[in-house]
């Protein structure tokens, strides 16, 4: 499922629109499936953030690396992970991109340079920084794109990671998806400097803000900053201004901390609407747009059908993946006197096989 390389992402507006609408339809389906109890855990949707997602990933080269937080369905899809592999993961099934072990927050696809899918706010930043360090050590002409949210800029990990990236001149772009809120906390209540991109200056790093609902502006900025990272080893911060249409997660109505009016007003900037309008303006016929809509619908339906029929992971392999192959021998002598169930579940559950 996740072994073949994707074709280079489309850069024409209609192609980009197709990706954005795929994400929107996918998130809508995910919400339905969550409410139908086929998806569990925390489920964070990115509806409204499609342009920032698709635009930044479109600016990546095939060999570049991607690291994100937990609101990652859109990033996985934009990077070319199949809707089947993503939906199967949300269903917790065997052929999910993490084989049903990670779920909504921990998508990945190493074959596409997508290294997750992390759930601790800020925790992915040092890791992405280390990946950029590794690229430099190996003389690889690539860059890392590391996504975080507006709430993540107040973690210690942000500061330590940006300082390391700058003091070591690492090829990394920190993408701040500023959707105005961290759960129920608006940016101005959380950040003493609400112009988040300005914090790049503390590291003598380039920082800029872009209209995150205009996919072409996003591509322009991201392409420029990623190129500088690759070619001049200049790290940067890119703040994409956007809005989360739904609640923080499917469990949050998203109304306790913002008004219906605000949501309606922000929806006027819906990146899909804006792309559609631009397509019309450029004379792309409604049929072709409708065809993209239909294709997205169909792809999501296929994904749900696939996930439904995909088997659950094998319970007898509970410990699989935890340790590298060969580790089984190392643990053999630990089974004696273990707590009840450990022998059956863990030591006989594929530990280090």
């Amino acid at each position: 499922m996740s072994t073949t390389l994707t074709a280079a992402p489309p850069t024409d507006l209609l192609g980009l629109y197709g990706e954005m609408v795929l994400i929107r339809r996918f998130e809508e389906a995910a919400e339905r499936q969550y409410k139908a109890a086929r998806i569990g855990g925390y489920c964070h949707l990115s509806s409204g953030q499609e342009a920032a997602t698709v635009g930044t990933v479109a600016a990546m080269e095939e060999e570049d690396l991607l690291v994100t937080g937990y609101r990652c369905h859109g990033f996985a899809l934009a990077r070319g992970v199949t809707p089947e592999a993503v939906m199967a993961e949300l269903f917790g099934r065997r052929d999910g991109c993490a084989h049903g072990r990670g779920g909504s927050m921990h998508l990945l696809d190493v074959s596409r340079g997508y290294y997750g899918g992390w759930g601790i706010v800020g925790g992915q930043l040092p890791i992405a920084t280390g990946m950029a360090l590794s690229l430099v050590r190996r003389g690889a002409p690539q860059a890392v794109l590391c996504e975080l949210g507006d709430g993540g800029v107040n973690t210690g990990a942000w500061h330590e990671s940006l300082n390391l990236a700058a003091v070591w001149n690492l090829p990394i772009v920190f993408l701040v998806i500023n959707n105005q809120y961290g759960m129920g906390t608006s940016v101005d209540r959380a950040s003493a400097e609400p112009d988040l991109f300005k914090r790049a200056a503390s590291y003598r790093m380039a920082g800029e803000r872009v209209d995150g609902d205009d996919v072409e502006s996003v591509i322009e900025s991201a392409t420029r900053l990623l190129a500088a990272a690759r070619e001049e080893r200049k790290p940067a911060v890119l703040e994409a201004m956007t809005y989360r249409h739904r609640g923080h997660s499917v469990a949050d109505a998203g109304l306790a901390y913002r008004t219906k009016e605000e949501i309606e007003e922000r929806k006027l900037a819906d990146p899909l609407e804006r792309a559609r309008a631009l397509l019309n303006k450029r004379g792309v016929e409604d049929e072709r747009i409708a065809a993209a809509d239909a294709a997205a619908e169909a792809a999501v339906e296929r994904a749900v059908a696939f996930a439904e029929s995909d088997p659950a992971p094998d319970v007898d392999r509970l410990a699989a993946g935890m340790y590298a192959p060969g580790s089984g021998d190392q643990f053999e002598r630990m089974a004696l006197g273990s707590p009840l169930g450990e022998r059956e579940l863990v030591f006989a559950g594929g530990l280090g096989e």
Binding site: G40, G41, Y42, E89, G92, R93, A98, G100, R101, G102, G103, M105, H106, W118, G119, I120, V121, G122, G123, G151, G152, N154, T155, G156, A157, G182, M183, G184, T185, R189, A190, S191, A256, Y257, A312, P313, V315, L318, A319, M322, S338, P339, L340, G341, E342, L345, V346, G349
Partner: protein, 349 residues
């Protein structure tokens, strides 16, 4: 009683329940404790992510912002190390902050402030200053929250001299222990649990009624085996004890630890001396966990009374997987617990 003297009231002495009891959830009992202590003592305030405008991510603090205002119910940025440390500093000046950490997993980023700062103050500064800080946070798994969000590090904090750690299993103790923690002059970690918030029980509403720190409870009497547990594992233990009484006619005694540091070994040992068999269960990983210490204490205190070795049960020792089937297989469910009891009684077929 004047507020002043009440603040000094010894939290380890439970006052009589004059005001009677009410049926409420564990969540509501925690909220009642906070409301009562905030009314009683102006130095008590709540701080954490989403505790105010959002009403708490698990709604424990719901309504407190309206009641006490933003100064006493303070929303914070996502800066656990910063605001846990801020709680330490405020406590050193005599305030009684209640810091909510959304889940225990996130305390990892503030570990240094808890273990290497809060816990050190009393001893390291020669008793010149104290740190009456409370940290409240839920542990545990379930609901497919996956590897990074399904953990219980209870033993790590309980193994830190200078800290006190409590883990209520009932709404009554949720209220009583949280109040005792707030009134205590040392840093206290109150470990709650996600699935337990909705559990219901009778709670003595008297504002002076607290549960003593360091005192375990025999939650159910029995003569065949002692189940030692804390937090949500106690809820499971009580259900399983009833089931097995009906299905197998076995009499399981359940000792609810309530406090992990101080650990009430006396109550545990007295029970095991009576039943001569012990099974210790916890929500987290048992190896190097709470049940390890329990087994070590029991085998020493009850060496001549044990008919069988002390057994343990907990979460299977893997980073908890997302898929429901895998998660259920890994957790110390009632089924696994019942089977473990029968096995410890040599009744398993």
């Amino acid at each position: 009683m004047s507020a002043a003297t009440e603040v000094k009231a010894d939290p380890s002495v439970a006052a009589p329940a004059s005001a009677g009891t009410e049926l409420m959830t564990y969540r509501e009992a925690l909220r009642l404790a906070m409301r009562q202590e905030m009314e009683r003592d102006p130095s008590v305030f709540v701080m954490g992510e989403e505790v105010g405008v959002f009403d708490g991510s698990y709604k424990v603090t719901a309504g407190l912002l309206d009641e006490f205002g933003p100064d006493r119910v303070r929303d914070t940025p996502i800066s656990e190390e910063g605001f846990v440390g801020a709680g330490v500093g405020a406590a050193m000046l005599g305030e009684r902050p209640i810091v909510e950490i959304m889940t225990l997993n996130f305390l990892l980023v503030a570990m240094d402030q808890v273990v290497n700062h809060a816990a050190k103050i009393g001893a390291m500064f020669g008793g010149e200053v104290r740190c009456p800080l409370v940290i409240r946070t839920p542990n545990g798994a379930g609901n497919q929250l996956t590897a990074q969000h399904s953990q219980s590090f209870d033993a790590w904090f309980a193994g830190t001299p200078g800290l006190k750690v409590v883990s209520p299993a009932s709404p009554a103790d949720a209220k009583g222990l949280l109040k005792a923690a707030i009134r205590d002059d040392d840093p206290v970690l109150v470990i709650e649990n996600l699935p337990i918030y909705k559990e219901k029980g009778e709670v003595g509403v008297d504002a002076e009624l607290t549960t003593p720190i360091g005192l375990a409870a025999v939650a159910r009497e029995g003569s065949d085996l002692t189940l030692v547990s804390h937090g949500f594992a106690t809820v499971r233990a009580l259900k399983v004890a009833e089931q097995l009484a009906a299905s197998h006619g076995v009499a399981v005694e359940v000792v609810d630890l309530r406090s992990l540091r101080p650990l009430d070994v006396e109550t545990v040992a007295a029970s095991v001396a009576k039943t001569s068999r012990a099974l210790c269960v916890e929500e987290g990983w048992p190896t190097y966990g709470v049940t390890a210490e329990l087994a070590a204490r029991i085998q020493l205190a009850c060496f001549d009374h044990l008919d069988a070795p002390v057994e343990r049960l907990g979460m299977a020792e893997v980073p908890l997987p997302y898929a429901k089937e895998l998660e259920l297989a890994a957790m110390p469910t009632e089924d696994r617990l019942a089977a473990a009891v029968l096995r410890t009684l040599d009744l398993a077929r």
